[in-house]
């Protein structure tokens, strides 16, 4: 079964070639269908992976091969309870993005052939990041994602603002590349003292063999690189523009899976490989995370553009994830992982809905969309209201559990961490949760309720087919979060060395 993960990574990469070699005249027309087929195949492979690895302790489906032995670089992959849910989320969201391109749902500027190929390449990079067990391999896949995302934003972004979308794409690229460079330095530093890039070996050693100073520097460099991606306040600055200018599929994947690469890196690399360095930095991470929660929510409150609003809400939600990680406790990290998945589903849905609104009104400005969506497009409005309530963390829907566990982690952080600092962060996070509720009910009031402004168009069957799975999963994960926690908890306990 060790071929499964290489196959998972290879399917979208090879599939990306299909639209490219298709006869040029037909390529744009068939590209979305090809995209659905390829990403559907990847989704099926990921389900097989899940069937093989779900609920089993430890790393599964490992495979290893020497790649550049002279540089000590190996092809090492595997999945465990930390990565498996993210793999499934990635394949699901990519598939739904492809479905949304069907039947004229693609970009107005055309070029579906290249878009589909680019998105599939993106999927390869993300999946590779989630299954990599070698620091260099992790870094390479991490970087593979950047270029396709630059194209997605710069080419298929906001068609009213060509200069703006280029700039947004470039800022995104520049900041992440700088972050990645720092991260690589951290990896090299780890290698310089331990002599290996093997994540499993490094995690087992738990920082043994590295001086405290090296650990601190490595943790700082790796942490900064990942924090840009997550994004942590104040490194979030690339995010609102990138989201606002990106096409719908770009926003969905950016928020749904790309941000998770950062938080995943914190759990997979930062916590287990350089634990002592991480312990010194964790209070700072917690404070910045808490600031991010409140800052993101405040920015949402005064936001008039729905896409920007959802983008800023991601800053707040990722703040909860980072707070959970910073607590360095199993409960906090479990919370971070659950919040990751929940955010992927809910924010993915919100961006699809924002895209649907933008298709209809050619703008995501709340004033342009106008009031009374409940009357104008009832189905769309109900999806929007439920997604908003899921995102504000209503217990019983997916968004609650992860953020609750993250706060619980901050309530009782790992030994050696300053309790009072974390308590303050927890209270600040709680205030952020109220502000989150405030801006979402405000949005529902501004566009869903009220006298209908103009006649609207109801959701199409393709749109419903894309939204419904996300909504169903949001409700399921809200009612039985134990399904997900049963998978993440053993893996997290292992990563953190059996608890506190």
């Amino acid at each position: 079964m060790s071929w499964l993960l290489p196959a998972l990574v290879a399917v979208p990469a090879l599939g990306a070639l299909v639209p490219l070699v298709w006869p040029r005249a037909e390529a744009d027309r068939v590209a979305p269908a090809v995209g659905v087929a390829v990403s559907g195949a990847a989704f099926v492979v990921s389900l097989v992976v899940a069937a093989a690895a779900w609920g089993r302790d430890g790393m599964r489906l490992e495979s290893e091969a020497a790649w550049i032995p002279s540089l000590d670089v190996f092809w090492r992959v595997g999945v465990d309870g930390v990565s498996l849910p993210l793999v499934l989320l990635t394949t699901l969201l990519t598939l739904l993005c492809m479905v949304s391109l069907l039947r004229g749902g693609g970009p107005e500027c055309g070029g579906e052939r290249n878009l589909v190929a680019t998105l599939l390449l993106l999927e390869t990079g993300v999946l590779g990041t989630f299954v990599a067990l070698d620091l260099v391999l992790f870094f390479l896949f991490f970087e593979v994602v950047l270029i396709p995302m630059w194209f997605v934003i710069a080419v298929w972004g906001d068609r009213h603002d060509a200069a703006g979308r280029r700039r947004a794409a470039t800022v995104f690229l520049l900041l992440t590349v700088i972050g990645s460079a720092l991260m690589l330095v951290g990896f090299l530093l780890v290698h310089a003292e331990t002599g290996t890039f093997d994540l499993l070996v490094l995690a087992e050693r738990g920082g043994l063999g590295m001086s405290a100073q090296t650990q601190l520097f490595a943790a700082l460099a790796i942490g900064l690189g990942l924090a840009v991606k997550a994004p942590m306040w104040p490194l979030h600055i690339w995010l609102p523009d990138a989201h606002a200018k990106a096409p719908t599929v770009g926003s969905v994947l950016l928020a749904g899976v790309l941000l998770k690469m950062g938080t995943y890196g914190f759990v997979r690399v930062w916590l287990p490989v350089v634990p002592d360095g991480a312990r010194q930095l964790a209070p700072y991470l917690a404070c910045l995370a808490a600031v991010g929660i409140v800052y993101g929510s405040l920015a949402c409150l005064a936001q008039s553009d729905f896409k920007r609003l959802v983008a800023y809400s991601s800053v707040g939600h990722m703040g909860f994830v980072l707070l959970g990680i910073a607590s360095m406790t199993p409960v906090g990290v479990n919370g971070a992982l659950v919040a990751n998945i929940a955010h992927g589903l809910i924010t993915g849905l919100l961006f699809f809905l924002a895209g649907a609104l933008k298709d209809r009104y050619d703008s995501a400005e709340l004033t342009v969309i106008g009031r009374g969506l409940y009357a104008r497009s009832p189905r769309l409005a109900v999806f929007l209201a439920v997604a908003a309530f899921a995102s504000l963390g209503l217990p019983g829907l997916a968004g609650f559990w992860g953020e609750m566990l993250a706060l619980l982690g901050a309530f009782d952080p790992a030994e050696g961490l300053p309790r009072v600092t974390f308590l303050v962060c927890m209270v600040v996070g709680g205030v952020g949760a109220v502000l989150t509720a405030a801006y979402f009910v405000h949005v529902v009031r501004r566009i869903c309720q009220g006298e209908p402004a103009s006649p609207g168009t109801e959701a199409t069957s393709v749109e419903l087919a894309v939204w419904a799975p996300l909504l169903v999963l949001t409700v399921l994960l809200g009612v039985v979060p134990g399904v997900l926690l049963a998978v993440t908890d053993p893996a997290v306990q292992t990563l953190l060395g059996g608890g506190r």
């Binding site: 460099a221 900064l224 920015a299 409960v331 217990p395 109220v434 009910v441 405000h442």
Partner: protein, 611 residues
Amino acid sequence: MNPAWVIALPAVGALVVLGLGTRAATGWVGAAFGLVTWLAGLWVALPYVGSAESERHVLGEMATGVAPIEVALTVDGLAALLVLLATTVAFLVLLYSVSYLRDEPRRATYTALVLLFTTAMATVVLADDLFVLLVGWEVMGACSYFLIGHYWERPDARAGAVKAFLLTRLGDIGFLFGIFVLGTATGSWSIGAANESAASGAMSTSQATVAMLLVLCGVVGKSAQFPLHTWLPDAMPGPTPISALIHAATMVAAGVYLVARLDDVMAASPVARSVLAVIAAVTMLGAALFAVAQDDLKRVLAWSTVSQLAYMFAALAVGGYAAGVYHLLSHGAFKALLFLAAGSVAHAIGTTAMTEMGGLRRALPVTFWTMTVGFAALAGLPPVVGFFSKDAVLGVVSEEAFQHASWQGWLLLVSGLLTVVVTAAYSIRAWLLVFCGEARGARPQHEAPWSMRAPLVLLALASLAGGVLVLTPDLVDPLGRTEGELVHPVLAAVTTVVLLVTLLLTYAEWWRVDGLDPAERFGPTRRLLHRELGFDRAYDLGIALPTWALARTVVATDRDVVEPYVRGAGTGARWLGLGLRWLQRGNVQVYVTAVVAGGLLLGLGAGWLVP
């Protein structure tokens, strides 16, 4: 039968009703599910009413990383009573709504939300685990939000919904942290474990105090007590049956239920009890005074709900478990009755403004007689149930005052007796303005149809007969948590005399002003009370406006920072090049330091370093 059925059946009903859409049968199908849920509730609850036994059903377990969350339900005497109250009122409201919303296009979502609410309330009542309880608690809040906003074209409905949701949510964050404290103190999320731990002394007083003060935040929000009291009257633009179910009989009483449920933890913390006593004393009198000055019938009833909930908290604050629970049940019946009757009035004349009413006695005989019973219960007139339950509350408070000479007891006794006077005044004022004197507005053509009248009559009978519960105190307090009797003859005689004098004086004043509003006598004070002492304005100025200003600042900051960041990124790249040259000189430490410092500066400072 597994109590999970009481939770599952209405949830299934909600899905079925949503599937039916706006078909004519939607309301009846909803009522049928209400009936089935009620029968399931009877089946589950009746064996435990008045019984000291309890039964725990574990449905599943959920890993967290610390103590696992056990999804468990418990039926005991208290839960059984609340299941009966919730499923009965929910069924009556669903039946009533069939006619009330006959011509409404939105009755499918309405009926589905009422059923979902029933699921959530049953979850709260049956939960053995604090997180399971919290799920039900918050889903109730969401249902309340959507139902207050049912008429979402109306600005007051939109604003009321937002306000209700945010104020309760604010309190619920405290509740969540309270759960953290309780769970960490006991190593389990079970309510039973928390009570045992507190009763056995394993939980320290300070832990109990911190936990209960935080839990009280949620309670104060949900039950609209001071200082989060302002949302309940603004929730009144919702459909009236919703006001009866959610904003009178069940959801707002869930706060009382929670305090009763955590009675042992509460008892372990004298500080928390004192805080609750002060909140109750302030709220019961303040809300009653606000009720005197209102012109809208539903708003009067809303303030009276706030005031009556404070009575229940008063009892619980001095350890009067039986009295608090008894008043919770009694209030659930008579306040649901009052709201449904108010709905019947609104159904007949199309408004809830008392300035448009008057003389409705003849046109709406059933509504008149049933609502009279309701008002008698609210005022506490013998022999209606409200008389006995209020006497039980005041009795336990006076025992605390006289026998233990505690300031909490005296505070609550004085406030409680004053509230008796004010309650009698606003009850008879509303009754006179609605049913007596000359008609001031539209004249109704007909009494409501049977599906609306039947719930009124049933609730009126329950309110008339509910007094017999005092004969069997074991029914509300099977474990014998509180000593003493439920009946206090001397006190009852005193309050009844005070009550009758107040009724007569108000009636005389109404006669004197020729059938107009007797509250006008208070002049400028009345206007101040009508504005509810300006709490809304203060919250706007003190919280809402600064938050908005801060939000706009954040948005402006982020916008102005983007440009410098782009240039800062270029600077960062140059530093990177610099670092690489150092690396070639072989000094890794220096290189790392430079890159890290560059990254930090880029992150933290570029926004204002590079103007």
